[in-house]
Amino acid sequence: MTRTRKPGVSRRATLAMMGAGAVTFATPWVARAQAKTIKIGMPTILSGRVAQLGTSSRNAVMLEVEKVNAAGGLAGRQIEMVIRDSKGQPQEAARVARELVNTDGCELLIDAEASSGAFAVHEVARDLGVLCIHTNSETSALTADPKQHIPNAFRTARQGVHDSIVGGSYAAAISKGKGLKKWATCAPDYAYGRDTTGEFVTYLKRFAPDVEIISESWPKLFQPDYTEVVTKILQAKPQALYSCLWGGDLTSYIDQANIYALFNQMEVFAVNMADYTALTVVKNLPKGIHSGNRYIKTYPATAENAAWGDAYKAKYNEYPTNWSWENATAIMLLAEASKKANSADGKKIAEAMRGLKIKSPFGADGTVTMRAEDQTLVGYAIGWGTTIPQEPYVPQVQAGDWKTVFELEAEWKKSKGYA
């Protein structure tokens, strides 16, 4: 039996033609697509104990991206977000960030990681030279330390030292007014708890030198029961208590301290109280806890801020978190900088972003500024107030003074050898 060729086009030729056709038609489409959309990569924490914060970061970003896209995108290019879970692990955050740039073709990075992950992603940004905005890390050194400085990395989050200065001066003023000299502290036993408590106490003592810390408690992070800590503080009989417990740990602590009537016996300063994640969860929120603002739609008390909080709630059926406004700010800044540079190129956006001041619902005076010298956000709303058990939860917030913050921050930088 011999093989015979049928007349007409062979299978091989058909395949070759189809291939050629595919290349001819697909290539311009790919090129056109690349010109049209710009991918922004975003590693964040979408699973595990702090997944709620990561989700609220993603929500806020999507809310703003929709607006930017509706208005024409970044210099005419529609934004496409590529958001991946880092599970809160620094090495995973770094791996995801690298992959987003190298494999997925992301041209910009939004690093929505907690501090541990942020430092890992920072190294990736240093290595790849891609524009990166850190949105959640509050650790001061990330931008304050000149060794960390790279031209392509920015931060749109609060900074620990800013909060400590404002918190310290607020607490000192209350201390002087009410004669609170004996203080106790209670903070989770890890880097954040130790550093934040240390900085708060430093500034409290600076503004009110006769304050004395008579009791310190360092419960474990995620400890389920605080009874022994509560009773220990009651034994010490302080006039005021400072705590930087947060999230579920803070709500547990409040529930447990409440039945010991601890809140009637001393003034309590809990920096992380005024965040909706904690405020809406605690069922019997005591009146009069002093707290720093995290995100609250009534402060700054402007129509813009209230509208932003309500729009977020309407879309996601819950209130934004502190991480939400920080991430929304990153997109707002990107959009403005891109407009100013008339480009979606990372280097040109970075150039335009340095020193850029934009209108913002989260600004102390309606604006926020990306400070040029250390590429970190300043001028955001920062203040302290006291709680009430129902909405608006913190009716009066006393604004922190940015002038004082700048002076003391400069001094702090000198003392750390950063300036």
């Binding site: 699973s47 104990r49 997944a51 709620q52 989700t55 130790r194 310190e216 408690s217 360092w218 474990k220 995620f222 400890q223 389920p224 029961d225 009874t227 022994e228 800590v229 509560v230 009773t231 220990k232 009651l234 034994q235 999230g247 579920g248 740990d249 709500t251 547990s252 529930d255 447990q256 409440n258 039945i259 010991y260 009537a261 994640t277 969860v281 605690v282 069922k283 019997n284």
Partner: protein, 325 residues
């Protein structure tokens, strides 16, 4: 002076020295001062009982299941977690604290029964590693189930209005009424359990099944039913602990894990399989935490493990454990 910090791991016996940033690991003045004052003594002792009694409810289920089924139930913490979530949901819908407690206990009893009959009964007599893997798989599965039903964020049940009252002052010490109830419920559970096992017919059958299941089965008693019942009882006690803790502790997926670790310490100290051992072990751990936080503020956690190590070295079967024949 350097201080010791123990790693939180199962049955860890290694202590690692670390620097303590200039804080004093010892504050014996505070401890002796407390022991000399009735107010402090009352407050810290009740504080120890509160921590201890909740721990007892979880640990006694663990020890009971081990005693009868000879299985170390590593998924026991999940029942504590489910008890808390069931109670919170029941409380949200009915507003009744009593119903919430009932739902927490009954729901986990049912869950325990199903879990034992469908899954655990298949690995009796299997390799310990196999049992451990099944339990550990369910730790993860149960956590994800909670995440799917109630969401990943933490929740709070809130203190019922009846207990939102001024704490009692006994000899100058502060004692919240809710905690008195909590201690009372746990004590009643301990007494009922102890008497039930010692005096009733069912108790005798359970003890017999623990000792020689083959013989019990040969006498025409349904051992499967006993095993299921004991597992349900253990689950119920953990669920009750979770329900009682729900008004004062935040609820998160995975909340059972740290409670489980402490329960293991309790059973190791008290002796695997001993109810009295679980009670004494739990109260001891409670007191160590309560008074340890005053005298050894940076070593409270380590103190628990240190105590466990001392017991293990001097009495490897635990304080009330029986020698294995």
């Amino acid at each position: 002076m350097s201080c010791l910090h123990a790693h939180r791991m199962f049955f860890v016996r290694r202590l690692v020295p670390v620097r303590c940033n200039g804080n004093h690991p010892l504050d014996l003045d505070a401890l002796t001062g407390c022991l000399a004052s009735s107010a402090c003594l009352v407050t810290q002792t009740t504080s120890g009982f509160i921590i201890g009694m909740l721990l007892f409810l979880v640990a006694v289920g663990l020890t009971l299941i081990f005693g009868v089924l000879k299985v170390v139930n590593f998924s026991h913490g999940a029942f504590y977690m489910f008890g808390a979530y069931f109670a919170m949901t029941a409380y949200q819908y009915t507003g009744s604290f009593a119903l919430a407690m009932l739902c927490g206990a009954a729901g986990t009893a049912l869950l325990g029964l199903i879990f034992e009959r469908v899954f655990m009964s298949r690995v009796y007599g299997a390799d310990v590693l196999m049992q451990l893997l099944v339990c550990y798989a369910f730790v993860l599965i149960f956590d994800d189930v909670v995440r799917m039903i109630w969401g990943p964020e933490f929740k709070s049940m809130g203190m019922p209005a009846a207990f939102q009252v001024v704490p009692l002052f006994i000899a100058g010490g502060v004692v919240p009424p809710y905690y008195l109830l909590l201690i009372g419920v746990a004590l009643v559970a301990a007494v009922v359990l102890g008497l039930g096992l010692a005096r009733t017919k069912i108790g005798k059958v359970i003890r017999a099944a623990a000792h020689n299941p083959g013989m019990v089965s040969a006498l025409g008693i349904n051992t499967g039913l006993i095993y299921g019942g004991v597992f349900a009882l253990g689950g119920m006690l953990a669920g009750l602990a979770g329900a009682l803790a729900a008004p004062v502790r935040s609820l998160t997926p995975g909340m059972g894990f740290s409670v489980l670790i402490e329960s293991f310490i309790v059973t190791v100290i008290g002796g695997m399989g001993s109810i009295l051992g679980a009670l004494i072990g739990a109260i001891l751990i409670g007191m160590i935490r309560s008074f340890g936080s005053l005298g050894f503020p940076l070593f409270t956690e380590g103190l628990m493990y240190l105590f466990m190590v001392i017991v293990l070295v001097s009495r490897p079967t635990g304080l009330f454990g029986k020698e294995v024949a």
